[in-house]
């Protein structure tokens, strides 16, 4: 009996020790990260962790010693002391001092995290169900960043890729060594933009703008994801940041500016049905599909069906209005700032002619541009 109990204690001790040592290995712990602040945060994390380990050894040591030493089966006779003021004062004061010691560096780090002044550039990050929109302020460059993992992989058909659920069609590209102010907001519900290796997690609140900042030290690709429950596809809303040398960043930005201008071209001409349908299917597949589903059946009652929707087919003006301005008090966002007129016209045309919605309507980009200008 006695040996067995001893074995149990030894085993439980070992069970505790294994994960603790394992935690120091990479992939088990908070990443050190690639910014000065993420290093500071990691330092604080390890400091408070070791403080806990030391206190744990003392407290659990005394605990298990008492259990072992003062077992009745070993003939222990109880003493009857019930108070000891000095001891009680000591173990109130000592933890207090330890806390003050850790609060000082924590305060300094927090102050640095809050100092968003003197940034070299600004990126506006907007959360949407379920993607991110990145806008380089003052640069005329903005784009959406969607999950790039194929749906078949999620459904278990086909082998999952290395960056399963942590890959996007267009990553946020940032220059190394420049201080970037991040402005965060949301078009619908609360999201939270998080990249562990940058040490940044900040909520994106609908109707409010939050601030954070980052200065990346090393080039590389850094992956994270939305951290605040934001509805059905919360788990499918990755963040990918690509940090590149400043010169490369400037070149990339110029390229993007030219590409964006080109994509918005064609407002002045008449678009054919095929062109609109092709572009519309593409837009639908990246933007609308998450709520309204690939087959247009939606997910009622929150996300209505588009396929066979009589109101939609009968009332073209309302359809356009809904996509441009959204529906107040519902989950339907306004797309006037997210998509360009060509994309809006194309996706409306697509929705009016796909899945058996045979209205034959074509909506022209020029009409949308006029409607938005009103």
């Amino acid at each position: 009996m006695r040996i067995r109990k001893r074995l149990v204690w030894t085993a439980s001790g070992a069970a505790l020790a294994v994960p603790v040592s394992g935690a120091l290995a990479s992939g088990w712990n908070m990443p050190v990260g690639v910014t000065d602040l993420s290093r500071d945060i990691h330092g604080l994390h390890m400091a408070i962790f070791w403080i806990c380990v030391v206190i744990g050894i003392v407290v659990f040591g005394a605990f298990f010693y008492s259990l072992f030493r003062y077992r009745r089966s070993r003939g222990a006779r109880p003493s009857h002391f019930r108070e000891h003021t000095t001891v009680e004062v000591i173990w109130t004061i000592v933890p207090l001092l330890i806390l003050v010691a850790i609060a000082i560096p924590a305060t300094a780090t927090l102050k640095a995290m809050y100092d968003t002044s003197e940034a070299d550039m600004e990126v506006l990050i907007t959360g949407q169900q379920w993607r991110w929109r990145y806008e380089y302020r003052g640069e005329d460059v903005a784009f959406l960043s969607n999950l790039a993992t194929p749906r078949e992989q999620i459904a278990g058909q086909g082998k999952k890729g290395e960056h399963y659920l942590r890959e996007v069609d267009e990553p946020l590209v940032l220059p190394v060594g420049r201080k970037v102010r991040l402005l965060l907001t949301s078009d619908d519900v609360i999201h939270s933009w998080w990249v562990p290796e940058l040490g940044v997690k900040q909520d994106a609140m609908p109707g409010f703008v939050n601030e954070n900042w980052v200065r990346i030290n090393e080039p590389g690709t850094y992956r994270g994801q939305c951290a605040e429950l934001c509805g059905r596809d919360h788990g499918f809303m990755p963040v990918v940041v690509e940090a590149v040398a400043p010169e490369r960043f400037d070149g990339w930005l110029a390229e993007r500016r030219a590409a964006a201008a080109e994509a918005a071209m064609g407002l002045d001409r008449d678009w054919a049905m095929d062109e609109l349908m092709e572009r519309g299917e593409q837009v639908y597949g990246t933007i609308c599909v998450s709520c309204h589903q690939p087959d247009g059946r939606g997910n009622p009652p929150v996300f209505p069906a588009l396929a066979g929707n009589q109101t939609l087919m009968d009332d073209r003006a309302r359809h356009i209005e809904t996509v441009i301005n959204g529906v107040a008090g519902s989950a339907m966002p306004a797309f006037r700032n997210t998509l360009n007129p060509v994309e809006i016209a194309a996706v409306i045309t697509y929705e009016r002619n796909a899945w058996g919605n045979e209205t034959g309507d074509r909506v022209q980009p020029s009409a949308i541009a006029e409607r938005i200008a009103e």
Binding site: P19, F63, L67, K160, M205
Partner: protein
């Protein structure tokens, strides 16, 4: 389920010879009516405990669905929409249906017995507060069958996901939470009235067993914060159905307002679920260490300090919402401060064991596991208090690990310790020793396999409330799921132990545990339906 838990009045309660005289010659109704109409604190306590156990298994079933889906990467069993309903309902059912009613049930049974009172101060109110709950939870669970499904926005119900973007069933969820809230407030009033008015002559407040003390403080917390919850969910109701904009910036409101109000309720709520656990453990450890509780007075003061501090720390749940720097600092410091009284409690428990004469009966096993595993949850809590680091921990599995460590091997183990401790008093039999030990060890192993790897998954970057995850989290999740299945299955053993104990087993004397010193051990086992009809003699032994 075990509907014969308490002693039947007809067999146990010896009527006085002059039974025809009005004094207590009431005809006890039989069958369903007996339970529907009962005003007896022991029967109501049993009802609460049976409801709690039922809800523990309902909420546990949801957890099993979650863990089965997360067993490996990819979507296998459920749609993300349903997954979100599972996480939401798991949280709601476990908090409001399993843990809180369990503590109220234990209070109903044991507070009158520990203070030498004949019953609760307000017996009819007691009946009403219980019967609100089955109605509330039937309504809550019925939302699964409504169009759009059950609430899917997490138990924290952050607006506007829970208002503008919520399924139509949210209104029913609000109503059911209102009912559970009223039940809690009425129960708390009853407990305060009982403790302040019905103590046996000679028992001062500072003579009360710690379980009674912690419940007194908990009851004040309940009265303070349940109305805040009622307020915030009513604002949700108005935003959803009556066109107000409390939480919508478009109408001049603010989603962060929701979080401030919710956590002003939510943080004290956390302590509502742990203070009575402290009380149970503080009663059990001295019994099996055969030594008085070390630092009784400082235990009481520590409990009160924790309760007061709990009103000053709510924004530590909101470090990433964009609070001003000053607020971050204030809430970081105040949160770290909570470690001090909590530490005092742990040190006192350990010192109570020091130079005792310790035995390891099932209630003691659970109480000892509580001390160790709750402390681990306390350590991760201290880490979470460090605001800069919390920017990395927040909303990850590290947080999930933290609060499950304080709630499962914390609150739930304390409840089980209490059940094992008082079962002999309730049923007159000891629980089967061998089965209880199996239940304990499987639970301890299961709980650690489930929740320990969550720390690593969270630190490595896995957010909470996701139905599918990146491949680097696969190993942690598989271990966690296996642990969860083990833990879930071992709880069936608990039901078996309780049922067997109700039906028979080794007979327990009045003083079922040799070291038990409180008043409940002076009445026969099983406790007759009516006890302490005349106040018992009480000799203060602590001071």
């Amino acid at each position: 389920m075990a509907s014969h838990l308490p002693p039947k009045s007809s067999t146990q309660h010896s009527q006085p010879a002059s039974a025809g005289v009005a004094s207590q010659a009431h005809e006890a109704p039989k069958g369903l009516k007996r339970w529907l109409l009962t005003t007896n604190h022991k029967e109501i306590g049993t009802l609460y405990l049976v409801l709690s156990l039922t809800m523990f298994f309902v909420g546990g079933l949801f957890a099993m669905v979650i863990r089965a889906e997360l067993f490996q990467p990819g979507l296998q069993l459920v749609e993300p929409e349903f997954f979100n309903q599972m996480t939401t309902m798991h949280g709601l059912i476990m908090i409001f249906g399993a843990v809180m009613p369990a503590f109220v049930g234990l209070a109903n049974w044991m507070v009158p017995l520990q203070i030498g009172a004949p019953d609760m101060a307000l017996p009819r109110l007691n009946n009403f507060s219980f019967w609100l709950l089955p109605v509330a939870f039937t309504l809550l669970l019925s939302t699964f069958f409504m169009p759009g499904g059950a609430p899917n926005f997490g138990w924290t119900s952050y607006a506007p996901l829970s208002t503008t973007y919520s399924p139509p069933s949210t209104t029913f969820f609000i109503l059911s939470l209102h009912m559970a809230g009223i039940s809690s407030i009425l129960g708390a009033i009853n407990i305060i009235a009982t403790i302040l008015n019905l103590r046996t002559p000679g028992m001062r407040l500072m003579d009360m067993p710690l379980f009674v003390w912690t419940w007194l403080i908990t009851a004040f917390l309940l009265i303070a914060v349940m109305p805040v919850l009622a307020g915030v969910i009513t604002m949700m109701l108005l935003d959803i159905n009556f066109g107000t904009s409390f939480f919508s910036a478009a109408g001049g409101g603010d989603p962060v307002l929701f979080q401030h109000l919710f956590w002003f309720f939510g943080h004290p709520e956390v302590y509502i679920m742990i203070l009575p656990a402290f009380g149970i453990v503080s009663v059990i450890i001295p019994t099996f260490a055969r030594k008085p509780l070390f630092g009784y007075a400082s235990m009481v003061y520590a409990t009160a300090s924790i309760a007061i501090l709990s009103f000053l720390v709510w924004s530590h749940h909101m470090f990433t919402v964009g609070l001003p720097l000053v607020a971050e600092l204030f809430f970081m410091y105040s949160t770290m401060l909570i470690a001090v009284p909590t530490g005092v409690k742990v040190f006192n428990w350990v010192t109570t064991l020091f130079r005792g004469s310790i035995t390891f009966e099932p209630p003691m096993l659970f109480a000892l596991a509580f001390v160790v595993l709750f402390t681990i949850g306390g350590f991760s809590g201290l880490m979470l208090a460090i605001s800069p680091a919390d920017f990395q921990y927040h909303d990850t599995y590290f947080v999930v690990a933290h609060f499950h460590y304080v709630l499962v091997p914390g609150a739930v183990f304390a409840i089980m310790a209490g059940v094992y401790y008082w079962l002999p008093k309730w049923t007159g039999h000891y629980p089967n020793l061998r089965l209880s030990q199996w239940h304990f060890w499987l639970s301890v192993i299961g709980v650690n396999l489930t929740f320990f790897p969550m720390h690593f998954a969270g630190l490595a970057g896995m957010p909470r409330r996701i139905p599918d995850y990146a491949l680097q989290f696969a190993d942690f999740n598989m271990v966690t799921s296996l642990g969860a299945f083990l833990f879930g299955l071992s709880q069936l053993l608990f039901v078996l132990v309780v049922v067997l104990c109700v039906r028979g087993g080794e007979k327990a004397p009045a003083k079922a545990w040799e070291g038990g010193e409180d008043l409940e051990w002076t009445v026969p086992s099983p406790a007759p339906l009516h006890t302490f009809e005349t106040p018992p003699d009480f000799q203060p032994r602590r001071h």
